[in-house]
Symmetry: C2
Subunit: 237 residues, 2 copies
């Protein structure tokens, strides 16, 4: 059986994509060890030829190619039913889809102003022009302008996180007593910030203790998976 | 076996509480038929004597008294394991808790300005002074002032609903192909608005078609449960 994971990488092998992180955790959860193909933004033509679109992660399983992190998680769940479940059944999968969309459309955008201006240093130098150009076109301002007011961004992030914080003050993981894919989704956004910014995005945030403690538990899962790759550049890049 | 459901009621038996609605749906989902004790705000002393606090719904099961809708749902799930599951397992329960908190702290507050000024007419006349006094103390303005700008409130509601709308454009229910408690939670807030306001809170909302269609499916469940009680007062009250 061939199982291949095309995973986004940045500067010196850093793992810089929340979408790739959640799939990395999903593989670990299921005890699967795919062959990893590190993929830079510059590899877009290879990715397009493989999958007909330009986003990563992508997996190949024998002759099947699957892109989009949600589709990949569902594929792994359905094709590897005998390994630990990512969703805990259909109802868990359904609700995880809502959390996935919330995470990508509410949590992620609230975190970006605290990360973007620093994040570009985590990207391979040859990929930076692409990243800056595509993001600045979306934002309508420079990355530095977008990240210029962390004092305004921090309360927005805390507000977005409020339901998460309250949930995690009651239970160890979003999925309850044990982690599941719904945790990997949300954690991947925090992990993106751990990799992509020199300061903790929760630094100075009031009333986020449960989220902080959960994030540490998530980092430590699967043999300290969250620390397996380099975090923010310490050297000048 | 004695199973008793203390359920919030308003004017002429209207069911006016989102928290009671989600438990009414939970009972129907599990095929349980409790004895219903209609409970007005004025019944607070009875409720306090029974449960040590003043919120409804409350259930009694033989000698056990449970208050708080989430605790009640968990109790029913655990004590009636042979009837259809409300959560579909531990991971579904965990994620449902996050959706519950999101629903009560993000969705509900976004809907209130579109409902509150009208809602008071759905309450028993003798309960209205209590409702107005307690809510206006929380809000710091009158109900009418709070509801004075629906044109501003509607986009806020649509924004809060955006992750829900996108989820429901992909799957029939929040829990996936079939409804579960996570649907009852979120629907109960919409049902509260159906009972509590003369106009559809989604009227004029752009891009909410999937949520609208889901709401209709939810109304129709369990033998048209969402239409079993009177909706907004048609007579002058």
């Amino acid at each position: 059986m061939a199982l291949i994971f095309h995973e986004r990488v940045g500067l010196e092998g850093r793992r810089i994509s929340p979408f790739s992180w959640r799939i990395r955790y999903a593989f670990a959860h299921k005890g699967l060890q795919p062959t990893v193909v590190p993929t830079r933004f510059a590899d877009v033509e290879r990715i397009r030829a493989l999958s007909g679109q330009h986003f990563v992660p992508i997996i190949e399983h024998d002759d099947v190619v699957v892109h989009d992190s949600w589709s990949i998680a569902c594929y792994l769940e359905d094709r590897f039913p005998d390994s630990p479940s990512l969703f805990g059944g259909p109802a868990g999968r359904g609700a995880a889809r809502l959390v996935n969309i919330w995470s990508d459309t509410v949590l992620g955008p609230a975190m970006r102003p605290l990360v973007y201006a620093d994040f570009i240093r985590c990207i391979d130098p040859d990929d930076r022009a692409y990243f800056r150009g595509s993001r600045e076109a979306q934002l309508g301002v420079t990355l530095e302008q977008f990240s210029a007011d962390p004092a305004a961004a921090q309360p927005e992030l805390a507000r977005a996180c409020a339901p998460l914080e309250r949930t995690l003050s009651e239970q160890a993981f979003i999925a309850g007593a044990a982690p599941a894919y719904v945790d990997y989704i949300v954690f991947s956004v925090f992990q993106w910030a751990r990799v992509g910014a020199p300061r903790d995005v929760l630094d100075g945030a009031i009333g986020m203790d449960a989220t902080r403690a959960w994030r540490e538990r998530m980092v430590g899962l699967h043999e300290d998976l969250g620390n397996r790759f380099a975090l923010y550049p310490m050297e000048s890049a």
